[in-house]
Symmetry: D2
Subunit: 302 residues, 4 copies
């Protein structure tokens, strides 16, 4: 049907911009202890997961998001054996992490245990069995507290969090990144998704600069994720390695030796993707970018 | 939640006007042999039934529509024993008809048998068991053909059809009303719902004038039906009785003797409701109102 | 164009219901000292006035609202000579009031002087020159304060206010109605618009019952106002006369002698319009209806 | 204001996806001889131009579109002296072209002369005076006919057309590209914008493959254009040069020597931008991609 009639999801992107996404079915609409969780089935993007009215993923393109979140960080590390995922209750990041043959242990710390159950039930293709991998430990609890108190070290930390608002803002601050740094123990690589340039550019710049303040190397890259309605950025950082300077052949070799198979990310684009357009690059250098701190956490407000 | 986010049904009222109705759940979205049928659950109106993207009823206020459709016609007749309903597959009109203690036989002719099944299953409170009443016969078939070929006479005919578009337009024409008249046999009362004044006033006037051309008495009345987003009109007609002139005490007496119980319509408003505002009244008298005929059927076009 | 594309006004009716109204032109979008004022030109309703995102009137059907607000009250009074309008900065109520040949003086008290200027400039057909009538005095100021301090008495008071939210809630309370009563001096008639049944039924019932608590007679009636997207109610009250019991011939006589000419309201419907449907009537009698008081003012919240 | 109220433009992206863009003002809504033209002012993107309900550009980010359309092609040519622009009535591509110091002559062929006038008047910053450049000749007429009959040769051809639907589809076919090739005379570079991957991926692949069939080298690249709501692709092609293989230092040198100044495109990204993600790359290789021909032109249909 061509006409704009029937059920649609209204997805607010900014105060002045929203999307109408046609919906075939509301699979689930629930309130967990922590948040509002909805899964709707759409002709455009398959099933979509919304938390607190914000899109988290869609079946159609979650591979873009999860591959872009996980592999650049994992491949920047010469041999990632232990990985910490904060958030990521849908299991998509986990699915990509366990593909790396080097990995011996993954801890996934998710605040909302109900989200894990909901996604395993209604979005099973996202985790694709990864929660059953014997290398995986799931901790239901607060990521910030876990990081603060963990005696364990990790090679890679993946921050797959809801957007920085409310309590989640505490997992985007300078102090939190320093706590993560302690767990990386001098080596190690950390990555977070980082909002969108232009429309949400203030938040992207803030996350980048906060990461860049906490780590020796910080690099931004992004990809178009159709179901988000926005180009979406990531920031990968490390004290030990500059992810943008890993030799292309080395990335190819690691990719091959770890037995990876992907759909969107591939080693060919590893270095190219760090080359930002001029305006996006310059927006990161501006002197008025706010560093997010525990005292003044940057919080998206739409 | 205050913000306009999440799932909504987009309901087109006119070319230049639509509604966004929040949806909690899409109960059903199917295509029958005849039409697209959707049932959605809404916080504002409970479950709503849409056919071809047009609202047919909601749990919250279908009693208004069905009481207003059925009782003025039934109470205008001194003793309705046999009733013919064309359309009305949801069973709501049927439910109101069988309340009248005088009724011995009801024939309901619905084109789309699947609609009856869907409504019995997902909107059970609408028919409320009326389909199981032994006085009721259901015919799945074309209403126009049924009327043309029926040897049986009826005291009251209730036209509870989808809006006049496509094939349904054939059940709003002068010729069709004449065929109905044959079944009423000189006495009898007929009623149809009749679109909305102002925004759809052209269609309302046309239905009224077409009815008024076919019958000696034709009277318009209406009610606000929140889930329609529009004030909705009805036209009741007869060769034997002027429905607006039935004595209030007589209406009261019939209402009581037939054991009726209602929520919206009551005998107190029977005569008052026929008093139209000046502009609505005058719109019906205009010389340019089109009579709907088989050759030139009036058809809503939004 | 049939498709739902292009500029539209999103008009929230309730938390779970909104409208999309096609817009040809944004005539004005301003913030006065008191409120946000917008005028848009629409193909469906002509120019529409929104205050704080709530529709106030449209060129297409403001005559319905203003005639229904003004004439039932004015015609219930045997000889209204002085009239007080609180609000009504668009001048539409004023236009209807000055039609009554008996009127010698009208005071219009509007909080927002800019609204008067904006409407005279961009919605000139609404006041239609009434502000230039020598019988009219305009006071820019707070209606509640005016009523509290006025030494003058009035035959009719017309409350043409924005909806009860924020400061305007103070002009819908029991105490305010008592202050108005003082100005009516034992005789006199007062009228207010009163929200919508069903969807906003809680507010309608509250306004009715608050008026009914303050005055000996209070009567509700309503009309479908297409540009509001809602059936809209009014409450007319008096200590001296029951507006629903004025003889129809007397209404006719007053209408004629005062030289009135109208488009929607006419004396024929004067008594009929007070006959409410059963559910609407009963909703006004419920024991849980809240009386709006200065201490606990009822306030719409969508 | 946080709430989704007030004027919005409904922008259809696909059959199942639309955007609501807040509008402050409708600057212009006109029908030229050829198409419907609207300019609206938005808080998110400044003024936006829509043709036949499709977004053409916004003040906020047209520099992204125009720089990405023009400079990769222009810089792939060692010394572009004559340039042909088909479409581009807004003047944005022209503005970028005349920045190149090598340029001696630009012909802009726009079907709709009224669009040029409208944009010069209401979107003056887009052309920024370029129409007054003495090197520029404007031809109001059909681009296809101009190309077919022009005796003149050009170094660069820039196709800045409306999307491929209706008559415009004729300017996206294999035959048209061959006609352009004749004007490029063996050397020369041609570029077109090319829809979006994923959601409109079928059209993007078709344009790419059609260009690749007509020219020896064809390269795709893209950028996120926020006001389009989509990542947007371009295809640059040539028989003489592979745009993706121009040496980065050479691009830098040409950029500098021609006196260019840009905001989004810069030589640093020239080669990187041709590296597509794996899925986007593979979608271009699929055997079922349709070549657009005069007989079977590919046409977007939403």
């Amino acid at each position: 049907m061509h006409s704009l009639s029937g059920s649609h999801y209204i997805d607010r992107l900014t105060r002045n911009l929203a999307r109408l996404i046609r919906v075939n079915r509301v699979v689930l609409s629930a309130r967990t202890r922590h948040q509002a969780v909805e899964i709707v089935e759409t002709p455009e993007f398959g099933r979509m997961l919304f938390i607190d009215n914000r899109v988290q993923l869609s079946e159609a393109d979650e591979y873009i998001y999860h591959e872009m979140l996980v592999h650049p960080a994992m491949l920047s590390h010469p041999e990632p054996r232990s990985v910490l995922i904060i958030g990521g209750g849908d299991g998509g990041a986990l699915r990509e992490v366990v593909k790396h043959g080097t990995v011996r242990r993954v801890v996934l710390v998710e605040l909302d245990g109900e989200v894990i159950e909901i996604c395993r039930k209604h979005l099973g293709s996202v985790s694709a069995g990864a929660f059953d991998d014997p290398r995986v430990e799931v901790v239901v609890g607060d990521g910030r507290e876990y990081v603060a108190s963990s005696p364990e070290k990790f090679d890679v930390i993946i921050l797959d969090l809801v957007d920085p608002y409310g309590q989640a803002s505490r997992l985007y601050t300078y102090e939190f990144y320093l706590e993560c740094k302690r767990l990386l123990g001098g080596g190690g690589v950390i990555v977070t998704h980082a909002q969108s340039p232009y429309l949400l550019g203030r938040y992207f710049a803030s996350i980048f600069r906060t990461m860049a303040s906490a780590f020796r190397y910080a690099r931004a890259y992004g990809s178009w994720i159709p179901s988000f309605g926005l180009y979406w950025m990531f920031v990968v950082a490390s004290d030990a390695v500059d992810p943008a300077e890993v030799d292309e052949e080395e990335v190819e070799r690691r990719f091959r030796e770890r037995g990876l198979s992907t759909r969107h990310y591939w080693p060919k684009m590893h270095r190219a993707m760090f080359t930002l357009p001029k305006d996006v690059y310059e927006a990161l250098q501006r002197s008025d970018v706010e560093i997010s701190t525990d005292e003044n956490p940057v919080s998206v407000d739409i």
